[in-house]
């Protein structure tokens, strides 16, 4: 395949990569990769999970060194960059995994490493100026929190915004955004896309990585597609479209678009019901929700609307302050995640690195962990049983890894997510709660996960899917519940699904319903 590159033939690239190669033990993450960045262009970078996108960006950010190849910045060739060189060359980097200091406030985080100083040898921080400098940045990303807020008190999405503000604060020539929207809901995503356009207008280049191809379609001037660590092709502005990107990414057309398929059976009886429960974030807002068997209930809402909190309470990780929960009509006391698991209520958490998987354990050990007694005889773990289960799940879910004994930490994000799913699928779910299940997951895997969710529902499992991706919520759910400031503001039936309705409910307004009798109140 010959890469075609027709953008901006007139402006000279200020940054270029030549034949870059990077290997990890047993994996070639990047090979024979070349690419150029010109001033003021927005490059969309796409590829399946594990294609090497983050690796590439880490090389540009100076976090990892390539094994071979050259990086040329302003005519100077390097074997690899250091973080300082990278920052010095005007490269700002928002990492895929968040890198904030919870014990510092927002302002300190944004200008971390570049604090304005008072005069004098002591290198004291000029706190007044710092605050002045932060205010416009927060406004630009549309933050709803103050510069003095400790980062520990922010939600994941809000932290994502801090990261973006941080990247904007650098007088950058190139801003790298590694999946910045993966945990951003609709409104904030819009703002981010505007920010990208603004950067472009100022002549700043952007490399934008996302698995949400429609976002790429909207802002990219050029799309670079990675497959298995090599350049699969480049698409000029006029050739950027969904199907073409998918074809280059996975080497064939995807039959199904990212949908879960229609329900094949009618929703069953209520499986899990929560009645007037209160969470610690919104102790004043009782929430009630019913999950039916054989149904995918989508849960939408704005940042910090309390969806994750609800999921955590249902899973028993967080304390329930009030209210009751019933499973199949019987009262249920979930005091801990162990109780939930024992009752077949499983959670795929939002933050897989910290809570989803144990990065240091092998795939097999991760999969067997919640159900270890079943893989043991007389309390002694049977390695054979463990491997058998893992192999089966690896095959079922198509987990890409050298073997089930591979350390989970070396897998790409998408494959890690599949490991999380695998451990629950290996058991017998009654209720499956998925918090942003496709966060950071490539399009092929997404389709697979949607398929899995549908298969679960078809098998009679009650599925609750929390998602900030509008297309996903509408495309996958059988019903959609929307949360607004800690409460369910309405439930939409399939006929009433529309972006507008979900957004209206998310900001606490009434939706436009086909039948006046349905859903929300």
């Amino acid at each position: 395949m010959t890469p075609t590159d027709t953008t901006h033939p007139d402006t000279a690239p200020f940054l270029s990569l030549e034949a870059v190669r990077k290997t990890y033990p047993g994996v070639v993450a990047l090979d024979r990769f070349s690419m150029e960045v010109r001033p003021g262009e927005v490059i969309g970078l796409v590829g399946e999970n594990g294609a090497g996108k983050s690796t590439l960006m880490k090389i540009l950010g100076g976090v990892t060194r390539p094994d071979s190849g050259t990086i040329t910045v302003d005519g100077a060739a390097h074997d690899g960059l250091t973080v300082e060189q990278s920052i010095g060359s005007g490269i700002a980097f928002v990492h895929q995994e968040l890198n904030l200091f919870e014990n510092l406030d927002v302002a300190a985080n944004i200008f971390f490493g570049r604090e304005p100083l008072k005069a004098g040898p002591l290198r004291l921080v000029d706190r007044a100026r710092l605050r002045e400098m932060v205010a416009p940045l927060l406004k630009r990303v549309g933050a709803n929190f103050s510069a003095d807020a400790p980062v520990a008190s922010l939600s994941l999405a809000q932290q994502q915004m801090v990261e973006i503000a941080k990247a904007l604060s650098i007088k950058a020539r190139l801003v790298i955004l590694d999946e910045p929207t993966s945990s951003l809901p609709m409104a904030e995503t819009e703002k981010l896309l505007d920010v990208i356009k603004g950067l472009k207008a100022q002549g700043i280049s952007v490399i934008f990585i996302s698995h949400r191809l429609h976002e790429i379609e909207r802002v990219a001037d050029r799309v670079v597609v990675l497959r298995d660590g090599t350049l699969a092709g480049t698409l000029a502005k006029d050739r950027i479209n969904h199907d073409e990107m998918v074809r280059l990414m996975i080497g064939r057309m995807l039959k199904e678009r990212e949908k879960a398929g229609e329900a094949t059976r009618a929703p069953g009886s209520v499986a899990l019901a929560a009645e007037a429960i209160r969470t610690s974030t919104y102790p004043d807002r009782p929430v009630s929700i019913e999950l039916r068997r054989a149904e995918i209930l989508g849960l939408a809402g704005l940042v910090g609307s309390g969806r994750t909190e609800l999921a955590r309470v249902l899973f028993g990780i967080e304390e329930r302050l009030a209210g009751s929960v019933t499973l199949n009509g019987k009262p249920l006391d979930v005091g801990s995640a162990a109780d939930a698991v024992a009752n077949g209520i499983f959670l795929v958490p939002e933050d897989r690195k910290l809570t989803g998987v144990l990065l240091d354990l092998s795939i097999a050990q991760n999969i067997s962990l919640p159900n270890l007694p079943a893989h043991a005889r007389r309390s002694l773990v049977s390695a054979g049983a463990e491997l058998a289960t893992a192999e089966k799940q690896k095959k079922n879910l198509g987990i890409k890894a050298p073997s089930v004994l591979t350390r989970t930490g070396t897998l790409s994000g998408g494959n890690q997510q599949k490991v999380v799913l695998a451990k629950w699928l290996a058991m017998n779910p009654k209720v499956m709660i998925l918090d942003e299940p496709t966060r950071g997951i490539d399009i092929g895997a997404k389709a697979e996960i949607y398929g899995l969710m549908r298969a679960l529902a078809d098998a009679g499992v009650a599925v609750l899917m929390i998602s900030s991706d509008m297309e996903e919520v509408i495309g996958v759910s059988d019903r959609i519940a929307v949360m607004h400031e800690g409460q369910i503001s309405g439930i939409l039936d399939k006929d009433d699904f529309s972006q507008e309705n979900v957004l209206l409910l998310a900001v606490g307004k009434k939706p436009k319903l086909l039948q006046a009798a349905g859903g929300a109140q």
Binding site: P25, I317, T355, G356, L358, S379, L380, V381
Partner: protein, 331 residues
């Protein structure tokens, strides 16, 4: 046996060979028996510590506990004239209860292990000293407990019975740590407690169990130590033993961050430490250098292990690269 453990074993053998060359009595049956007795006493202690360290915790109070429980044990049987099996059970139960309280404070009240057990270190010794009014707990002359003494300080077939006890305990604990569901939970919690919780493990209970195991083994070794010295000044008995136990675990490849280490390792670590102490006496090195020798060897051991790891990782990477290059044309 892992490569790490093998390295440690080789170190132990090399040191042993050098000492034997200088003073062949090192290998005499009596010296081996003496040393293996102390290996047993410290080994039991260190296995307990290892169970806590693997969860990412630490138990600093074991030295003080050895003083307190030893004092109580001797007081029970020598002064209060309890039957020794009863006293034995009471002490073990006390160890378990103290371990439970530590675990409970750490998991339920979310205090840091270092803080809880540091307070334990201060409190238990104080209580022991108060209990004897800063005196000594010991047996009267001629006071004898033949069965107890045989079990703790006696020998069978030339082997100290304490060492036989260590072997039994080590085998049981090896199975628990490396083969059982509980052991797997310990490792998982040590690696990432939060994620273990999200996998439905009752992490609190598992951690408490680890502290209880540590408490029980510490109590057991407290009894052994008491029967070895037969006299206890609570102000100094067992001082710094937590450091011995931690050092043995660290030498044996445990990471204080949790989630790493093997049972064989901690035993080998104990053996090396006792070998060093033995060596200082046998070679007539000034006693003042005892600790310095210990510190130096631990540092060198850890350094070599670390540098060896770096070297191996680098070599593996180079090999992987080579393989890939070789495999490339075939694609």
């Amino acid at each position: 046996m892992s490569k790490k453990d093998l390295g440690l074993l080789i170190l132990i053998l090399v040191v042993g060979a050098v000492v034997t060359a200088i003073n062949p009595r090192f290998l005499s049956a009596i010296n081996l028996a003496n040393t293996s007795n102390l290996v047993a006493l410290f080994g039991i202690l260190s296995i307990g510590q290892a169970f806590v360290i693997i969860t990412g915790g630490i138990e600093l109070s074991v030295g003080s506990l050895i003083a307190l429980l030893g004092t109580l044990f001797i007081d029970f049987i020598a002064v209060r004239e309890l039957d020794w099996p009863l006293a034995f059970v009471v002490i073990i139960v006390l160890g378990a209860v103290i371990g439970f309280v530590h675990g409970w404070l750490i998991t339920r009240l979310k205090l840091q292990p270092f803080v809880v057990t540091l307070c334990g270190l201060l409190i238990y010794r104080g209580v022991a000293r108060f209990y004897t009014a800063d005196g000594t707990a010991g047996f009267a002359f001629g006071q004898n407990f033949p069965t107890l003494e045989f079990l703790t300080a006696g020998r069978s077939y030339g082997l100290p019975n304490s060492f036989i006890a260590l072997i039994v305990i080590a085998i049981v604990m090896w199975v628990v740590l490396h083969r059982s569901v509980f052991g797997r939970y310990l490792y998982a919690i040590g690696k990432n407690e939060e994620a273990a919780k999200y996998s439905g493990i009752r992490t609190g209970r598992v951690i408490i169990a680890a502290y209880v195991i540590c408490g029980v083994l510490t109590a057991l070794s407290a009894i052994y130590f008491a029967m070895y010295t037969r006299s206890i000044s609570p102000a100094s008995h067992g001082q710094f033993y937590e450091l011995y136990a931690i050092a043995a675990a660290v030498l044996g490849g445990f990471s204080l961050r949790g989630g790493e280490g093997s049972l064989v390792g901690v035993i080998l670590g104990t053996v090396l430490l006792q070998e060093l102490q033995n060596l200082v006496n046998l070679l007539g090195i000034p006693s003042s250098l005892n600790f310095a020798v210990m510190g130096g060897v631990i540092l060198i051991g850890v350094l070599v292990d670390q540098q060896w790891g770096v070297f191996r990782a680098r070599r593996r990477m180079i090999e992987a690269t080579r393989q890939n290059v070789a495999g490339a044309p075939a694609e």
